[in-house]
Symmetry: C2
Subunit: 140 residues, 2 copies
DNA sequence: CTCTGTGCAAAGCGTTTGCAAACGA
DNA sequence: TCGTTTGCAAACGCTTTGCACAGAG
C-alpha cells in the first residue's frame, strides 16, 4: 500500500492533495482518530479544514476504503481496509495493534448453534501490551 | 435479576423511581439505545428528563452496573452487567443477541503470541439472524 | 435534616450542511 | 468546461452542565 492516487481511482474518487494527505496519515499511523488526523495533517497542510476531514472520512468509509474501529472507552480510530484482522487496545499506552487470529472455527460454531449467517466480525481485546508491562516492572 | 433496589444498594446508589424505571427498561429490552430508553420510560414516567437518563446511564456505567455495547454502523446499546458474553447484531432486523462462546483458547493464543495481558474482550458478530433468513426465503 | 437526585434550560462540543470559490479531469 | 471538492461559517443534534427544588435516607 503506497500509491494512494491509484487507490483513490480504484474507488472512483478524485485525487486531491487533501485526500492524499489523509490517506498518508492514516497509513503512517496504522490507526488514527479524527482529532489526531486533523492535528497531524494541519502541520503539513495548514489550510485544511475539519469539514474536509469529516467529509472525506465518511466518503472513504462508504467507498470501503477506510474502516472505523470502535473501541471500548475510547474514540473511534480509522484504518485503511486491507486484510481481515482483529484489534488489541492497550489500556495503558492507548496503542491499537492489529492481531491475526483464525476465526473460522468460532464462526462455524456460532453459525451452527444459533442459526446465524455471519458476515462480519469485530473483535477487540483490551489489556496491557508488552511494552507497558515491561515498563511497569521497571517502575516498581 | 429482578430486585433492582437491592442492585442499586449494592452499587452504593440511592434508589429513585427514575433509576428503577431505567433498570427495568434495560432489563426488559436486554439491549437498549439511549433514544429508545427515553421514549420507553417517558410512556410510563412522563416527567422524566433526558438529562436524568444521561446522568444515570453514566453513573451506572461508572459503577459497573451497566455496560455499553458499541456496534458497527449503529448507535450503542446498553445492557445490565451480568456474565461475560459476546454479541450478534442482525443487520436485517437490528436485533442484538447475547452469544456464549468459549474464548479461553483464543485469549491464551493471543496472549502468548503477542505477549499481551488481556482482561477484556468485546466481540461483535454481524450478519443475518434466523428469523430474517426464514422471512427472506418466504418473500422470494 | 442533610445530602443527593431531578428537571429545566442553557451551554458545550463534535459533526454535518449550504454555499461560493477553487480545482481536478 | 463541467462537475466535484474545498473551506468557511452556520446549523445541527446529542450530551453535559448549572441551578433551584424535590426527594431519599
Amino acid at each position: 500500500m503506497k500509491n494512494f492516487t491509484k487507490v483513490l481511482k480504484q474507488h472512483n474518487l478524485k485525487t486531491t492533495p487533501q485526500r492524499l494527505a489523509i490517506l498518508e496519515a492514516v497509513y503512517k499511523y496504522g490507526h488514527i482518530s479524527i482529532d489526531t488526523l486533523y492535528i497531524e495533517i494541519k502541520k503539513v497542510f495548514n489550510s485544511i479544514s475539519q469539514a474536509t476531514i469529516y467529509k472525506n472520512i465518511n466518503i472513504m468509509i462508504n467507498s470501503m476504503l477506510l474502516f472505523e474501529v470502535k473501541l471500548p472507552n475510547e474514540k473511534s480510530v480509522y484504518e485503511i481496509v486491507q486484510n481481515k484482522h482483529s484489534h488489541f487496545l492497550c489500556n495503558c499506552c492507548g496503542e491499537v495493534t492489529d492481531i491475526y487470529i483464525d476465526t473460522k472455527q468460532m464462526i462455524d460454531n456460532i453459525s451452527k448453534e444459533y442459526s446465524f449467517t455471519i458476515n462480519q466480525t469485530d473483535l477487540v481485546f483490551s489489556g496491557t501490551c508488552k511494552k507497558c508491562k515491561d515498563f511497569n516492572i521497571l517502575k516498581n
